[in-house]
């Protein structure tokens, strides 16, 4: 068997760019300083559901309002996770595991509080008609929930009619649609025209393997984006008042 030292035929760029610091070291610098809050944020970072609940309990017992902890502690922890993911220091499973712990934490805070917690906003997520590729949608859904949004997950292979009916019923701030096939992504256009026909101007954020910026730019409500991790950022921008044109300016990169 032939064997050679590959140094002149390939470069493992992932090793070249790897940071000297571990994710834990970087995270340490980013956690909030208040000891109670820090403990909760750290538990979210570590994705430890039991620890999240224990730390929340601890803090609530000390007299803090449970609902305030959603933003101040849980979200703060998730933000550290998102930042490290953007830096390429954490990987998707780390994010999903933290997100799950975060979602448990939100539920716990809601149970502990007598007031009603308002989610940041309602979002519909789905995979287009004829398409069963749904891993990307699952990722998007978890990330949105972890960022404090209420997500109505319509599942995969969702008929245009049903998407439109759900929009009318739920009045979401945006739609997150996934398509992986060139043969199915045209369903976005049908959703677009059906919504426009009913005078509904909700952003239809589209992503998934087959979808391109050019394709999405072609219909009025379309906003394109590549990365699942950017979907919560789009939602945040909508809450800040960005309209479809401004969303395109910000998130269309090609």
């Amino acid at each position: 068997m032939i064997d050679i030292n590959p140094k002149n035929i390939l470069i493992r760029y992932n090793i070249l760019v790897e940071s000297d610091m571990t994710p834990e070291e970087v995270a340490e610098q980013l956690f909030p300083t208040d000891p109670y809050i820090r403990q909760i944020a750290k538990a979210v970072f570590e994705g430890d559901e039991d620890e999240v609940v224990a730390a929340l309990q601890n803090t609530i017992d000390s007299g803090v309002d449970p609902l305030s902890l959603i933003n101040d502690a849980l979200m703060a922890g998730m933000e550290v996770v998102s930042t490290l993911y953007d830096y390429g220091l954490l990987y998707l499973p780390d994010v999903i595991i933290s997100a799950q712990a975060m979602i448990e934490g939100i539920e716990y805070c809601k149970e502990q509080s007598k007031q009603v917690h308002e989610s940041k906003g309602k979002i519909i997520s789905y995979v287009v008609e004829g398409d069963i590729h749904d891993i990307g949608k699952k990722i998007v859904t978890v990330l949105l929930r972890a960022n404090g949004y209420e997500v109505i997950d319509l599942g995969k292979d969702v008929p245009v009619e049903e998407v439109v009916a759900a929009v009318k019923r739920e009045k979401p701030i945006m739609l997150s649609g996934t398509a992986l096939m060139t043969t199915t992504m045209h369903a976005f256009k049908d959703v677009n025209s059906r919504l426009l026909a009913s005078d509904i101007n909700v952003p239809v954020v589209c992503g998934g393997g087959a979808v391109t910026q050019d394709f999405v730019s072609d219909y009025d409500l379309g906003v394109y984006c590549e990365e699942a991790a950017d979907v919560p950022k789009i939602a945040d921008s909508i809450l800040q008042g960005l309209d479809i044109r401004k969303l395109r300016d910000t998130f269309h990169k090609h």
Binding site: I2, L10, Y13, L90, P93, I97, G155, T183
Partner: protein, 461 residues
């Protein structure tokens, strides 16, 4: 049909693994032999989106595709070609559509075969339509439709039958996003293998009845999903080492098709086919640098090392500067085959094989474990546990960890992150249950509650 478990390797030595050669060549189609001393291109295509409007437009599209390919093959002087039609959903849902398309394609291929003597064969890959919107129903009505589709294409001109089966996917999708090795072993090694065995017993009977070839399956829905989420070197989504472990485990799943009677060539996108060939001696189809039209991977040359058919995975049919896309890609693949066949004739096949393999061996852990020597080693641990689906899957995963770890002492450079994940994967695998009964029992508990689409009765559990 009865199931034959592999308890030893059909190849005695990894040095004997080579492209264009298999222990048990497959005769099929119009005078074609696969794995009998030469390689052949397998061109795969998708109709344009609006072509699937009705049966007539779709049949017409496939006729054009077929004619374009055959024409280019004779224009450039290639001796053989395989066409693979991967069903679009409509073709499986309406079995007579698939049948009419097979008939139409075969008629054109016969025309060219009669006129020029070009050796050729037609593979049809039925769509696995068992996963509908809300639930997966592996053994119900959709399954009957799949069998009906196989029945109809087999009697209408398809020479080789394949499917990319879904079994285990619901638990796999959940597990891979959580780095959960238990779920990976359960979904791929147990659920996947049970489903593959179940469907391939039926597919093999249909093939036998119609005198066509039950070719094989792939762990696309599992191992390729992991490979795609892992992505390129600078995609920090999933550890490439973890994707390698999934790939190794997936061989124990794909193997179940051959144990139920399939004889190859296995599907192109089954990168685990290197392991399958070492175990079974059956020919395989592979894709790599000739499938960049469909996706990027980190072993474009290496994938040729042991292939018998050389594929492009899939390309949408449309015009390009050099002809239609099927002509361009078919030509590229066939030139690759020409190079491999020349090396074989000249007696330097193994040298070329090694050049192809070494050029990617250290590009990524996924390539490293699929290098033919390492693929062989994974095959050995799988065959060491013929009667224990659980152990063979778990041991295959552990072997991949061990290979990567020892490789990193040589030229296989690993990032700190990959070193940590491979160590964790190995420990997670090691700490799983001792035996299959308790493993399955625990997993049924865990995943019935964690994954709402998981229904054990789909797997006869």
């Amino acid at each position: 049909m009865s199931v034959k478990r592999y308890s030893s390797m059909e190849y005695d030595n990894f040095e004997d693994l080579l492209f264009g050669h298999s222990k048990y060549p497959v005769k099929t189609g119009l005078n074609l032999e696969i794995g009998a001393g030469y390689t052949t291109a397998e061109i795969n295509y998708a109709p344009r989106p609006d072509a699937a409007e009705n049966k007539a437009t779709l049949v017409n599209e496939y006729e054009r595709i077929t004619r374009d390919i055959m024409e280019r093959m004779v224009q450039v002087g290639f001796p053989s070609i395989v066409l693979e039609t991967e069903h679009v959903q409509q073709m499986t849902h309406n079995p007579e559509w698939g049948a009419d398309i097979a008939t139409a394609q075969k008629a054109i291929m016969e025309e060219y075969h009669d006129e020029y003597g070009i050796k050729c064969a037609l593979r049809h890959t039925v769509g696995d339509v068992r996963g509908d919107r809300e639930r997966i129903d592996l053994r119900g009505d959709a399954y009957s439709r799949i069998l009906e589709s196989f029945e109809q294409i087999a009697s209408s001109g398809a020479d080789m039958l394949s499917i990319e089966s879904l079994g285990g996917k619901e638990v796999f999708d959940h597990s891979i996003l959580r780095n959960d090795m238990r779920g990976v072993v359960f979904s791929v090694g147990i659920l996947g293998a049970l489903d593959v065995e179940y469907i391939w017993k039926d597919i093999c009977s249909i093939a036998k009845k119609n005198k066509v070839v039950p070719a094989g399956d792939t762990a696309c829905a599992q191992a390729n999903t992991a490979m795609f989420v892992a992505g390129g070197l600078l995609d920090f989504k999933l550890s490439h080492s973890v994707a390698s472990v999934v790939r190794a485990i997936s061989a124990s799943r794909s193997l179940a098709a051959y144990e139920a009677g399939a004889v190859g060539p296995g599907k192109d996108c089954g990168y685990e086919n290197n392991i399958i060939k070492a175990i079974t001696g059956y020919p395989i189809s592979q894709e790599g640098k000739g499938s960049t039209c469909a996706h990027s991977d980190l072993m474009g040359n290496m994938a040729m090392q042991c292939c018998d058919l050389w594929s492009n995975e899939s390309v949408e049919y449309r015009g390009d500067f050099g002809g239609t896309t099927v002509q361009c890609w078919g030509e590229t693949l066939s030139y690759d085959c020409s190079m491999m066949n020349t090396a074989l004739e000249a007696g330097v096949g193994k040298t070329l094989r090694d050049v192809l393999m070494v050029s990617d061996r250290y590009r990524d852990p996924q390539a490293f474990i699929l290098s033919y020597d390492n693929a062989y080693r994974i095959g050995e641990v799988i065959t060491a546990h013929p009667d224990d689906m659980y152990l063979r899957a778990k041991e295959a995963g552990m072997k991949a960890c061990e290979l990567i770890e020892s490789g990193s002492e040589g030229f296989l450079e690993l990032s700190k992150f990959e070193k940590a994940t491979i160590k964790k994967a190995r420990n997670d695998l090691k700490s799983l249950d001792e035996n299959m009964e308790s493993f399955i029992c625990n997993c049924l508990d865990i995943y019935s509650s964690e994954v709402d689409t998981f229904d054990p009765s789909n797997y006869g559990l």
